[in-house]
């Protein structure tokens, strides 16, 4: 095992006078006068948000406009600070997506509790809840900081879907080979 004892040499006379340090300091200051700034003029300039960022959790719809959440409540279950509250509901039988059977009647995420951990997104079996790019939230009251279903869909928008599993299920049923 390589252990390296750290050497400590006594200061030379010049170093003890502190004069070289002053010169070095001035040089550094002058150099930084001409180097480009490291800071960002927020909010006029915004930082670039990388893909996969964990921002405010939102609910999304699939490209056909169907709400993806089936109110299985897994996210409510897994959320470590218990920020999610779901009231499950039925989809009306005359709805084109009636075969999905369930959708949330109400879906609330308390942003004062949420810790942006992303576990909800990770467990969701429907890819319905996504932490997207928004990183600021503000409100004057506690109630304003609770995102309801409407707001969650507004924030979430539509995301592409690779599976369309409910549509597949429906067409399979129509062809009479539902399992």
């Amino acid at each position: 095992m390589a252990v390296i004892p750290l050497e400590r040499k006594p200061l030379t006379f010049a170093e003890r006078t502190y004069l070289p340090q002053i010169a070095f300091g001035l040089k550094t200051t002058l150099r930084h006068l001409v180097t480009p700034k490291e800071t960002l003029e927020y909010p006029e300039q915004r930082p670039e948000i990388p893909a996969g960022y964990r921002g405010v959790p939102t609910l999304v719809k699939d490209p056909n406009g169907r709400e993806k959440c089936v109110s299985c409540q897994l996210c409510e279950f897994v959320c470590p600070p218990k920020a999610i509250r779901i009231t499950p509901g039925e989809i009306a039988p005359d709805d084109p997506t009636a075969h999905v059977e369930k959708a949330p009647q109400e879906f609330e995420i308390d942003m004062l509790r949420c810790i942006y951990c992303g576990l909800c997104q990770e467990v969701c079996p429907e890819e319905a809840i996504w932490l997207q790019n928004q990183y600021t939230m503000s409100g004057y009251t506690r109630a304003e900081m609770v995102n309801n279903k409407e707001r969650l869909y507004e924030l979430g928008g539509t995301l592409p879907d690779d599976h369309f599993k409910w549509d597949k299920k429906k067409s399979a049923e129509e062809q009479g080979n539902a399992h």
Partner: protein, 411 residues
């Protein structure tokens, strides 16, 4: 305890030996809990004789959140975000330590790629934590420049963390049996580029302090911790190595494949605040060395253990398409992963010292007891001893040199 009392200089000694009528009352002073140099919410109840500290009583617990109790009420993966909030200057390293502890209980072995990823992020976390430790220490002793330099560098690291984990600060990156996601495309290249530009800047930063007369006056010979004391009080990490004890768990009890990497363990010779500073500076250079090696031989393959898929988290693609996996996903989330009964203790070499997790399981989905051995807490235990007999202004330098974090101390 008050018997072994060392006076910092002769003037003070003469004053203390002066006749009784010249002796003044001792003053009691509360430093903190909101004092800029107590780095968080530590309160030091000081007893002062003039400018000399005759007694120092650390008062802890202002940041107590009951993390250990919280852990008993949640499944193993749910607790990962809470480990971010222990040593919040190196959340990635905490994530790794916790995950390895639980993996030991579940008898999971990570494939090489998963291990290498963990080594890289632990070392980057070490750099980020030491940078802040250094900057705050320098600022406490009057050097403001280093603080700004290190914030610029840490920002670059945070950008990398953000890209990797999705969050700058509260990374929650590991999962039991793996990590949350694989490295993003081109990420290792950007880490490499960071290391490349970081070393000259680190040298410049160290140059500002190492041979700086003011900094040396404030730190050399201040807060000396002897080898015996360091061991006796259970110090770990740079504070222990600063006192000349070459204990480094990465070398002595390698985990996550640390044995494959070539690096040195710097140790101090005197055990004063200056030595602790030197150790941190050198450790950052060694961390860069490890990161470079790990990237150079980063293996391909999976980044999660095979069995973890069954016990902890089915892969998302599968959940979306297969019924069995969907049911499995439901079972794991609602009941927690089924763990064997037993108890394990695992310690990792974190930036602040040895972070240990003691997990007792009685089977089922939640730990029966989870104890966290936090290095900051143990490192602070020596405060009453080192502060005594020093000048009031030296207390600030000593606190800075111990580099603790209250989030993990009080947890």
């Amino acid at each position: 305890m008050a018997t072994e009392f060392a006076f910092p200089d002769n003037a003070a000694k003469t004053a203390a030996n002066a006749p009784a009528e010249f002796q003044t009352e001792k003053m009691s002073l509360a430093m903190g809990p909101s004092h800029p140099s107590t780095h968080g919410v530590l309160r030091l109840q000081l007893e002062l004789d003039g400018e000399i500290v005759t007694k120092c009583d650390p008062v802890l617990g202002y940041l107590h959140r009951g993390d250990e109790k919280i852990a008993e009420n949640m499944t193993y993966n749910q607790f990962v975000p809470y480990t971010d909030r222990l040593d919040y200057l190196a959340p990635l390293a905490n994530n790794v330590a916790y995950a390895i502890a639980v993996e030991k209980l579940a008898k999971l072995e990570l494939p090489p790629r998963g291990q290498a990823i963990r080594v890289i992020i632990s070392e980057l976390a070490r750099i980020s934590s030491h940078l802040l430790g250094l900057g705050a220490f320098a600022m406490d002793t009057g050097a403001w420049t280093v603080f700004l330099y290190q914030f610029t560098e840490r920002e670059k690291l945070y950008k990398l963390f953000e890209e990797l984990t999705g969050a700058r600060f509260t990374t929650s990156y590991t999962r039991i049996g793996g990590v949350a996601r694989d490295l993003p495309e081109g990420w290792t290249g950007r880490v490499e580029a960071f290391c490349e530009q970081f070393l000259p800047i680190l040298d410049e930063m160290l140059e500002m302090l190492t041979r700086n007369k003011i900094f040396m006056d404030r730190t050399v010979g201040v807060g000396v911790i002897s080898r015996e004391d360091a061991i006796g009080y259970g110090l770990t990490g740079p504070n222990l190595r600063g006192s000349g004890v070459p204990l480094d768990l990465r070398k002595d009890k390698p985990y996550s494949g640390y044995e494959q990497y070539d690096f040195d363990v710097p140790v101090g010779t005197k055990g004063d605040s200056y030595d602790r500073y030197l150790v941190r500076g050198e450790e950052m250079k060694q961390a860069v060395r490890i990161v470079r090696q790990a990237i150079a031989k980063l293996p391909g393959g999976e980044w999660y253990a095979k069995d973890a898929v069954r016990i902890f988290a089915p892969r998302k693609e599968k959940v979306l398409t297969s019924m069995e996996e969907l049911i499995n996903n439901f079972m794991i989330v609602t009941e927690g992963p089924q763990m064997p009964a037993g108890e394990v203790y695992f310690e990792a070499e974190n930036p602040k010292g040895a972070l240990g997790f003691y997990v007792v399981s009685k089977g089922g989905g939640v730990p029966w007891r989870l104890k966290i051995r936090s290095p900051s807490f143990c490192n602070l235990s020596i405060l009453p001893k080192v502060c005594q007999g020093n000048l009031m202004s030296d207390v600030v330098a000593i606190l800075g040199s111990l580099d603790f974090v209250m989030g993990e101390c009080d947890r």
